[in-house]
């Protein structure tokens, strides 16, 4: 039997892997997101290593202690660690990685749209969405703006 060598005649088909997921935020994540909904930021504290983690974790990756203590981090104490601009899609958006003094980690978010240009090291504050629009998610921070 002659096999078809014509590409049009070769068998091929589409299929998909039908997977969906329902995630949990976890022990640290649940608390972090509930606090975000209230318009506050908290880091978890490792007393052994004298470190604060934001986003918070229930353990210290260095000394492996279980972390039960949390401390407020002021939304006004951020600075831009790095930034980039998204130019595709519906207009230009600026993504910032914001860090906080004395805190390990950082938050990814958007810079306030407008004429202000971000700069590395710029002091910024996290601006939360109006209370009724918050869902307990990272997007409860509407944007970061220059102080």
């Amino acid at each position: 039997m002659d096999l078809a060598l014509n590409e049009e005649e070769l068998k091929r088909w589409s299929d998909h892997i039908p997977l969906m997921w329902k995630y949990t935020a976890g022990i640290a994540g649940e608390r972090f997101l509930q606090l975000l909904k209230q318009g506050t930021l908290q880091a978890s504290v490792c007393k052994n290593c004298n470190k604060l983690f934001l986003p918070p974790k229930i353990f210290c990756k260095d000394c492996f202690a279980q972390l039960n203590e949390w401390r407020d981090v002021s939304p006004d104490d951020g600075f831009i660690y790095s930034f980039t601009s998204l130019t595709s899609g519906d207009g230009r958006r600026t993504v910032v990685l914001v860090k906080f003094d004395g805190v390990e980690g950082g938050l990814l978010g958007f810079f306030k749209p407008g004429r202000e240009e971000p700069k590395i090291g710029m002091k910024v504050r996290a601006v939360f969405k109006p209370k009724q629009e918050r869902k307990g998610s990272l997007s409860d921070i509407q944007y970061f703006e220059k102080i």
Binding site: I17, L19, T24, A25, G26, G29, I58, K61, C63, F64
Partner: protein
């Protein structure tokens, strides 16, 4: 010559259908317990091996790098191993060679699985493990091929469903004494027979549940272990082996690949008569017939004779040859990789008299843990021994 390797600690989380903890947090809890059980800190850990089955369960691609912080792998030589359902026993084997080779004095082995995120059911992860040309168009699921295997096993040795159901009855009862167990229960053979038919002859109570959980053990060189105890638990032997992906070409009534893996481990451990020289075993039991199948592959019983051994009561926790004193996957639960590691933990707990209400009646020195996976083709075997 490889160095002598010891197990110095073990820990595990609750096994539950759905846990709040993230996969990383589950791994942390088990790892922390294992370190506490060993009485050491993370700073004393040289290397880390994590084991987890398909990324599709937790819903995080590259699960190895995702799990590393919770597994204690940060800033260490760290790797993830993955051999499907056999991962949980293969992970400490991989940790063994880290220590046996002289590469490290202390190696952590951590296994985690969070199956609950996958919707509508974790079994959906298995649709895509089959050949896309020959098998997937038929809509084949894992339950089909297990049903075919169970049916062939029953046919080859004239085994009745009721004889197989005894395994489920035993394991679920054993699990009543396990503080982490998900499905401990007092049930009867009749309950199993009357439970919902899934894919005949597989019924609801023949099958282990889907679960979230993590488990971990700490391995160390003999020299390190002897600083902690005069009487450590040694890794006496390990083996692993894989059959063809063409599952249709195999003898479904007998797991030859397991026999190969077991013989590799027995050779290392100097075991000639496994039934006499091994005191108890944690045999992989995602389905009740698999415990029997695996007992034969492990040379504990002749082909087709594991059901008789089970019916005689010999494999009960207080019997002559306890099989799955933990309660197994049928009773404790089946968070894939973590379930295999749970078996390694149980062997360690039994050998160190830490199994509490589950402690087997007779004195034990040598125990075996086994897991099975990939496309029902892989087996991993670990033998622990305490003088």
């Amino acid at each position: 010559m490889p160095r002598k390797v010891c197990v110095i600690g073990a820990g595990m989380t609750l096994f539950r259908r759905r846990m709040l903890e993230t996969p990383k947090e589950l791994a942390f809890e088990a790892t922390r317990m294992a370190l506490e059980s060993a009485g050491i800190e993370r700073k004393e850990v040289d290397t880390v091996v994590a084991g987890s089955a398909p990324d599709a369960f937790d819903g995080v691609h590259m699960k190895g790098e995702y799990l590393l912080d919770g597994s204690g792998g940060y800033a260490r030589p760290y790797s993830r191993v993955f051999v499907g359902g056999a991962t949980g026993v293969y992970t400490p084997i991989a940790a063994w060679w880290h220590v046996a080779s002289g590469l490290s004095d202390v190696c952590l082995a951590v296994a985690e699985e969070k199956m609950s995120p996958l919707q509508p059911h974790p079994q959906y992860a298995f649709w895509s493990i089959f050949d896309h040309t020959i098998e997937r168009p038929l809509g084949v699921t894992l339950l089909w091929i297990f049903a075919l295997e169970m049916r062939r096993y029953m046919h080859a040795y004239n085994i009745k469903e009721e004889e197989i159901a005894l395994v489920s009855v035993k394991n679920k009862a054993n699990a009543l004494d396990h503080p982490c167990a998900q499905l401990g229960a007092k049930i009867t053979v009749e309950d199993v027979m009357k439970s919902e038919k899934m894919v005949w002859p597989v019924k609801r109570l023949d099958v282990s549940p889907t679960s979230d959980g993590a488990a971990a053990v700490v391995l160390a060189s003999e020299e390190f272990a002897k600083r902690l105890t005069k009487d450590p638990v040694y890794v006496a032997g390990c083996g692993w082996n894989i059959d063809s992906t063409y599952w249709t070409n195999r003898d479904l009534s007998y797991p030859q690949y397991l026999e190969n893996a077991a013989r590799m481990a027995y050779k290392q451990a100097g075991i000639k008569n496994p039934r006499k020289e091994i005191d108890f075993a944690e045999v992989y039991d995602p389905f009740d017939y698999k415990e029997l199948h695996h007992m034969e592959g492990l040379q504990f019983a002749k082909k087709g004779e594991a059901p008789k051994m089970t019916a005689s009561g010999m494999t009960q926790r207080n019997g002559e040859f306890p099989i799955n004193p933990s309660g197994g996957l049928l009773g404790v639960g089946n968070p894939i990789a973590a379930a295999g590691m749970m078996k390694v933990c149980e062997v360690y707990f039994q050998l160190t008299n830490q199994a509490g209400k589950r402690q087997v009646k007779k004195e034990v020195h040598t125990g075996l843990a086994q897991a099975w996976g990939d496309l029902m083709q892989y087996s991993s075997v670990l033998i622990l021994r305490r003088n």
